[in-house]
Symmetry: C3
Subunit: 336 residues, 3 copies
């Protein structure tokens, strides 16, 4: 790919300083740059690399002025990292795959839209609907009566159980499981009897689901992942959970049954959220937090085992680290 930097400057709404006639063929990191590449400078602690880079073109902040001579051309923009990230797709082949691989098995009454790709070794069960431009990669299983919307991508070995709905523009990574049974058992005298999980999972549009993440079907009703939600790898979403629009959750977090998470929340990794509680909109939860009770205050920022206000937790934790000294002070006071 030969891309004129003039084209890039236009796409990122930037102005070129230096030679505006060059082209780039790939991207690289500023501290490990390659000839003919495009790179960026967002954090000024990397500025020293700017003066010895092999890159041809560097996206920088609009107010940045180099303190030494720079060989590369600069493109000056607002928010250089975001602008750089926004054009990475130029450097990768985005050829849409089409067609149904001969080694896949499509059951009866399956509806397949236009320009759909179904890779090798997939199993598509009865009454499944797969809409236009969607790509389902190798070794996926789609259960009976499930629907996959338009322009979505399922990477290899995604497992969707029966009766589930996945929306448009979704990306689901390998090994993700959508619609496994909720973890529901009724205690009997000496053991447990399984509660039949007859609900489903509904995933709305523009959702990304990470590798090996699991989303259980509802006992009755639906487990719901709303528009724009981004889930990292190895996340557990239990039965009847609802996650509000544009909430982002990092890996290895688990949300127990029937909990409702609001919109635009940011939830760190390794967070444990109790069942049957509510988290308000715009709440931020630090990594490793344990959330036992509802957080009803919009925009709350919490952390800790168990979680409370982040600033308060930080203060308590500073004192926790000094507890041996604190106890010595009490010893002294008692001695007096």
């Amino acid at each position: 790919m030969n891309i004129p930097i003039k084209k890039i400057a236009k796409l990122v709404d930037g102005t070129i300083q230096g030679d505006d006639s060059t082209i780039v063929t790939c991207v690289s990191k500023i501290d490990d740059s390659k000839k003919n590449s495009l790179t960026f400078l967002a954090n000024l602690k990397y500025e020293k690399h700017l003066y010895k880079t092999k890159a041809t073109c560097i996206i920088v902040d609009k107010n940045f002025e180099p303190s030494k001579k720079v060989h590369a051309s600069l493109i000056k923009v607002e928010n250089p990292y975001n602008k750089f990230a926004s054009i990475l797709n130029l450097f990768t082949s985005n050829k849409l795959k089409k067609g149904i691989h001969s080694s896949s098995f499509i059951s009866k009454n399956v509806q397949i839209g236009n320009n759909v790709f179904i890779g090798a070794k997939c199993f598509i069960d009865e009454n499944v609907i797969i809409k236009d431009n969607t790509m389902i990669n190798a070794n996926c299983t789609i259960g009976k009566n499930s629907t996959i919307g338009k322009n979505s991508i399922l990477h290899s070995a995604v497992n969707v159980y029966h009766n589930c709905d996945i929306g448009n523009n979704c990306t689901i990574h390998s090994g993700a499981v959508i619609g496994s049974d909720g973890f529901g058992f009724a205690p009997t005298k000496n053991s447990y009897s399984k509660i039949k999980q007859i609900g489903n999972v509904v995933i709305k549009n523009n959702v990304e689901i990470g590798a090996n993440t699991t989303i259980d079907r509802a006992t009755i009703g639906s487990t719901i992942i709303r528009d724009g939600v981004k889930l990292d790898n190895l996340i557990q979403i239990a039965h009847n959970v609802e996650i509000g629009e544009n909430t982002v959750i990092a890996s290895l977090t688990g949300i127990a049954g029937s909990t409702k998470i609001g919109k635009n929340c940011m939830i760190g990794g390794h967070v444990a959220i109790n069942g049957h509680i509510k988290i308000a909109d715009n709440v931020k939860i630090s990594a490793k937090a344990g959330v036992t009770k509802s957080i009803l205050k919009q925009g709350a920022i919490i952390q800790g085992y168990w979680a409370f206000d982040r600033i308060k937790h930080q203060r308590s934790y500073i004192h926790f680290k000094k507890l041996p000294d604190i106890v010595k002070r009490i010893d002294k006071l008692e001695d007096k």
Copy 2:
């Protein structure tokens, strides 16, 4: 499905109040009820929904008396949620699947019982035994010499390594891995050499294993999951672990090598349990606990990082939250 409420009342050992001649066709939640549906009222904070529900029939506590007019018929029982849960299977098709899908590969010397289902794209290795009425869904791999008991269900993409035994009436969800190598390495001068893992995994009867849960084979001997154990999604069970009967474990919990867990324990999510320790019967471990030492007291209830008695942990944690104030009190005392 048209189910007379008289039939339901009989199954749940309840008495009908109101019209006993109606039928229901589906289930719903009381706060999101549908016409012709059966629902339940267990928690009285939802009572208000009872008076405006579209449901045809509501399972309620035997002592419950509505304070206003209710249009739906009531079925009065002990323990309404459990009774409701126990009949959910009426509302789903339980048609057993049978037969071996033509796209699966069955190796030589495989023994397959009566009424077995093997879905699409499975690979069944040599000398495997699959007993009566068991269903193995698409894209599963069963390794050499392994046995799957009667009436069990493996959902899609379950991986069972060689030489493993799975019992009767087990349910294993998609992506679960049974029999991967234990994490055993002997340090050498500059690196590690792998310790061959020559044991297996034994899963007894009535066990449920969640999606993407991993159970490692023993170094020698067996990793053992006893009767009635219920494991949620994304759980790690290391080599040579034993889990006692009817113990229940929530998601994202990990148990390190050679640890023995007793019967009827309840272990929350995100719990980390050290290797080579014992947990007595009936122990309860709160979510996020870290268990470093054996818990030999039956029925102990523990929590914390690291875990100790739950009530004591709660008391300590209350003071942890107030540490800044506690330190101020010491400051004052010192000033005097």
Copy 3:
């Protein structure tokens, strides 16, 4: 398998005490020993089992002298467990599998070395290179342009995305995902836009990767797992992470984006490591730690939520457990 104990003594550099003409056919644990088996005594708390074992031969410490009569032959060595572990491979069939299963699909321009095994139902995409003596088990997917080195084993259902490099002598367990997209999104006005992940994953030689572990591809450049790294099950490695040689990580640990981990580190289970930080060589991190900042001191040993020096954390935690008493002491002091 009939193995003369003389052969074993030679392999473990030991001397036989007792009958040196016997043979063993299997291994067992000393507290659950079988006839004709080889076992070991490493921990003297199991010594009592030595005097009643059914085993034929026991590997013991070179300085160990039984206090009663022992029926089994002894092999005296340095470091009995490691020596025992080193010969477990004698007791398992190591027959290399070869050949390409007829049910797998090999795309065009795939290069396959000598003695390669490709099991059933695999999908190998275009331009993949698979080198000599490597075994790829059933239901694996290898994406376009990826390379798998020599003498490596991929167990069933491993998913390798496009453009990834896996080295020699690697073992990857079922359900592992290599090369899924990094979790990168740029905030827009109301939601997030995906940052194209155009880098890859590079796994060097002698690496073991556990079941259902996920390793994301770099945004640009490579996520790198260096020689000799051992990763347990259900681990999350985010985009652009680098893990130094011979570092060992236990299950359910997550490492956020762009973090660099040194050589020879030991990282426990359920550890959360922040993004964009550095961990020096030989650092030990206890299970359940949360690491927010770089650890630049080689050989540091840390623990805690959030992590600091392990000994200091233990001291603070002892006082945490006594906080109710500590507060009572302050109450008393105030009363005076």
